[in-house]
């Protein structure tokens, strides 16, 4: 019998569970941590940062209490430095590359220091950026997520006017709708959006979806250039019967519900929860369910721990939150009673001698009141494919050249929707930043 309930935990328990995952550093501890940085020559951390922040430089400035200088170093390269400080998998980026990792397995906590510096600046209320001398050029930007906002921020500084068309009622993209609440509490995503828009010259139209409310052909006509940073639209299917049953959910939808709800106690929570997938989203949903009061949460992944795209730190984080992780099992059938999900039948998997995954035929049923799919999102090309002039796609994503230019003249793209993007906030910001530079050159030549 299925057991889905509301308000499994008290308000106090929920508040504690969804408080800041890692509390911020204070000035004293930040100074001590900053002094651990060796100020490397040719620092490996810089190379490991998708936005190429000069990490030793910003850390040295924390050590000397030049906090403003530190924050500017970060934001100049990554205007979403505050969000990235919170959500970047630093353990596989800058902190993995930190020479102290090689020396003693304890990197300088670069992410926490970055958060310290960017929080400091944002708390001052200062707006260090402003729109450049007007060029009279207009750029349309599709999507107010990390890629789109990063592009708009740079384009505004170049003096162009930007209009951003965002399908959702709020801006921020996955920072607002897709990232676990305990990583970005206190409405941080919206504060950051406000900070970015504070540069001026950017107008955001929320609730305007490409293909429905706005059309690429019109944007190309009405603007001097277009940047598409619309992200991924749909969740992949499991390829099993019963994908539309009660109790079977998309993880990203539920994460968005948690972020947008005013009252955690109004969210339905199963007593027994199964999450299928191996990435950050799978971890986020599994941990969230525990934090909301689920009794048993099982995360199932078809391969081994090192194959998961969730980092080892993320996996440990889930396990520390009492999520059980089962490897080498793939979903075979959704078990039902009437219209209700009662569990998932998994088949054990192994690798053959060629390293290919195969099902062993042995199965096991994991009982569940709620099942979450977190097996990745796909780009929905319909809005752009319906245009008279189609965009070239590859792997069902938009193809761009080294200047982020698509196959259509004057149309650029970046972030999760382009082929080859690694799906991190920080990578989307970098795409937006570099695309803005390319758009700037394009507009100058036009």
């Amino acid at each position: 019998m299925s057991d889905i309930a509301f308000g499994r935990l008290s308000e106090d328990e929920l508040e504690e569970n969804f408080a800041d995952m890692y509390p911020p550093l204070d000035a004293k501890t930040a100074g001590i941590e900053a002094s651990r940085c060796y100020f490397c020559y040719d620092a490996p951390c810089i190379e490991a940062c998708p936005t190429g922040i000069n990490i030793p430089n910003f850390i040295r400035k924390i050590a000397t209490a030049n906090y403003r200088g530190s924050a500017i170093d970060i934001l100049d390269e990554n205007v979403m430095g505050g969000a990235c400080a919170r959500v970047c998998p630093t353990e596989v980026l800058c902190e993995e590359a930190c020479v102290r990792t090689a020396q003693e397995g304890k990197p300088v906590t670069i992410g926490k220091l970055q958060r310290f510096a960017t929080d400091w600046l944002m708390e001052t209320g200062e707006q260090p950026y402003s729109q450049g001398a007007p060029t009279g050029k207009k750029v349309a930007i599709v999507g107010a997520g990390p890629a789109g906002l990063a592009a708009a921020h740079r384009l505004s500084q170049q003096g162009h006017d930007c209009e951003v068309f965002e399908a959702m009622p709020k801006s921020g993209g996955l920072n607002e709708y897709g990232i676990a609440a305990y990583k970005v509490p206190d409405n941080f995503a919206q504060k950051e959006v406000d900070f970015i828009l504070g540069v001026g010259g950017i107008t955001v139209h929320n609730g305007k979806k490409l293909g429905t409310d706005v059309h690429l052909a019109d944007l190309r006509k009405d603007f001097d250039a277009v940047f598409i940073g619309s992200g991924l639209g749909s969740v992949q299917a499991l390829g099993l019967d019963g994908e539309h049953l009660d109790g079977l959910h998309n993880a990203v939808d539920f994460i968005s519900d948690v972020r947008q709800t005013g009252n955690m106690a109004e969210l339905p929570v199963g007593r027994r929860v199964v999450v299928i997938g191996g990435g950050s989203t799978a971890i986020d949903i599994a941990v969230k369910k525990k934090k909301l009061g689920a009794e048993d949460v099982t995360l199932v992944y078809r391969r081994g721990p090192s194959d998961m795209s969730a980092t080892s730190v993320e996996q440990k984080f889930a396990q520390n939150n009492n999520v059980r992780i089962k490897h080498w099992m793939q979903p075979k059938a959704i078990k039902t009673e009437g219209d209700r999900v009662t569990g998932v039948e998994f088949e054990y998997t192994r690798l053959d001698e060629n390293g290919r995954l195969f099902g062993t035929g042995e199965t096991v049923i994991v009982e569940a009141d709620m099942v979450f799919k977190a097996i990745g999102q796909v780009f929905i090309p319909d809005p752009v494919r319906h245009e008279a002039s189609a965009l070239e796609l590859n792997n069902a994503k938009i193809v761009v050249d080294e200047n982020y230019a698509t196959s259509l003249d004057g149309v650029f793209a970046g972030g999760d929707c382009i082929d080859g993007n690694i799906g991190l906030t920080v990578a989307a910001v970098q795409d937006g930043k570099l695309a803005a530079a390319a758009i700037g050159s394009y507009l100058a030549d036009k």
């Binding site: 004293k28 100074g31 001590i32 002094s35 060796y38 100020f39 490397c40 020559y41 040719d42 620092a43 490996p44 050590a63 020479v99 102290r100 090689a102 020396q103």
Partner: protein, 424 residues
């Protein structure tokens, strides 16, 4: 187990660790706590003539470094601000209650024979083991013609030392100021005056910080600051050098030395003793962490002496002194080169950039299949040690002696020296 006791100019002490004349030794209460913790002796905070001095509020300043507090420390306090008789009574009681510990009394009175004679008599009556003449205090008292105002004039040092030796049987230790150009001049004056020992260094004239909001030195007294006496770990190198200068000066005739200056642990103490000190005096470390640090000092020194086979302090006292020499006695044919242990290297590149930007361009930076690699160019390496010192990994960079087959040759003998004996 090593015997840490020492007889310093006849003053018996169970270990070489004394608390220097300073706030920690201003009262019976503190001194008893120190003896309970295991300190071998104290130099009682400087007594002067009544009426006692008056101190200001806001007295200490500090240099913090990389989150480490009190790397350097300074103070603008004067001598004891308590009536003389109270101090004398307390000293008497403490010495009676703790007969096995060394109680030395620091003194500072005007530069006339009579005040010195009078106060020496009073101190003798307490049963104290000896006196230390405060010729060092660099602030406040010096403006009144005492402290370093005396210590900076060798003739005065000799004169006051002579008076003291004339008027007391107690051992006389002369505390020297570092605020001079050549510490040997005042040490020699103390020796000429008949001092039983010298102690050094007293604190160094200093301004530790300027408060950029107030635009005044710290410690700040109502918007103003005065220079104060600098001490703490930061001054140890200066103290070691001054101790060595005296230890190897023939005119100082092997005078006993009580080492002072940034001593925080047993290793610091061992270094001072290796340059000839018989006891060491501590202040800042105790003011930072409390008296219990003496436990590590005692056990650390004892364990180290055991590991080296030294049974008593004199077994290693002064062993480093003969190896402190003048630059012109160094071997010009000694040749070392940096060696980087690539297995230990963590690729921070500090060896490269320090050498490249500021020294001899003797460490290359390259990428091999994307991997950073730093290598020494022997031809350019002058063996300066900078890379080894900058490297954050212990033993990753070492300096290897080159076998060039050349014999010892100092600068005086070096044909490259226009004034060398070889060039003649």
């Amino acid at each position: 187990m090593a015997d840490l006791s020492y007889s310093f100019a006849g003053i018996k002490t169970p270990n070489p660790f004394w608390l220097a004349s300073a706030p920690p030794t201003d009262k019976e209460y503190n001194v008893v706590r120190a003896f309970e913790a295991g300190w071998g002796g104290v130099v009682w905070k400087t007594l002067g003539e009544d009426p006692p001095v008056v101190n200001v509020s806001s007295r200490y300043g500090a240099v913090n470094y990389n989150g480490q507090r009190m790397m350097g420390f300074n103070n603008i306090e004067l001598i004891t601000d308590r009536p003389l008789q109270i101090n004398l009574d307390e000293i008497t009681r403490v010495k009676k209650d703790w007969p096995d510990r060394a109680v030395i009394v620091s003194l500072m009175v005007p530069c006339e024979e009579e005040p010195w004679r009078d106060i020496l008599k009073k101190v003798e009556d307490t049963g104290a083991d000896g006196v230390e003449l405060n010729f060092g205090c660099p602030h406040g008292m010096s403006e009144r013609g005492m402290g370093s105002a005396v210590g900076q004039v060798p003739d005065y040092v000799q004169m006051v030392t002579e008076w003291c030796k004339k008027h007391t049987e107690m051992p006389v230790i002369v505390k020297l100021t570092p605020n001079i150009t050549d510490v040997r001049q005042s040490a020699r004056a103390a020796v000429r005056g008949g001092a039983d020992a010298v102690s050094l260094i007293n604190t160094i004239n200093s301004i530790v910080n300027i408060d950029l909001d107030v635009m005044a030195p710290t410690p700040t007294v109502d918007g103003k600051g005065a220079h104060g006496g600098y001490c703490g770990p930061a001054v140890k190198p200066i103290a070691l050098n001054m101790v060595a200068e005296i230890a190897r000066d023939p005119e100082c005739k092997d005078i006993l030395i009580s080492g002072i200056g940034g001593i925080s642990d047993w290793r610091d103490a061992a270094e001072f003793i290796s340059l000839g000190c018989g006891t060491v005096q501590v202040c800042t470390a105790a003011m930072h962490y409390g008296f219990k640090i003496v436990d590590d000092m005692n056990t650390g020194l004892s364990n180290w002496m055991d590991s080296k086979g030294y049974n008593v302090i004199d077994d290693f006292r002064g062993l480093a002194t003969p190896n402190v020499t003048d630059w012109n006695q160094l071997n010009m044919n000694y040749d070392i080169k940096a060696r980087i242990n690539q297995d230990l290297c963590i690729k921070c590149g500090l060896c490269h950039i320090s050498c490249e930007d500021t020294s001899h361009q003797a460490i290359t930076a390259s990428r091999i299949n994307g991997e950073r690699r730093y290598e020494v160019v022997d031809k350019e390496c002058v063996g300066c040690n900078l890379c080894m010192l900058a490297c954050p990994v212990d033993n990753c960079i070492t300096m290897e002696q080159m076998d060039n087959g050349k014999p010892y040759m100092n600068w005086n003998e070096d044909p490259r020296n226009p004034f060398s004996t070889a060039a003649e």
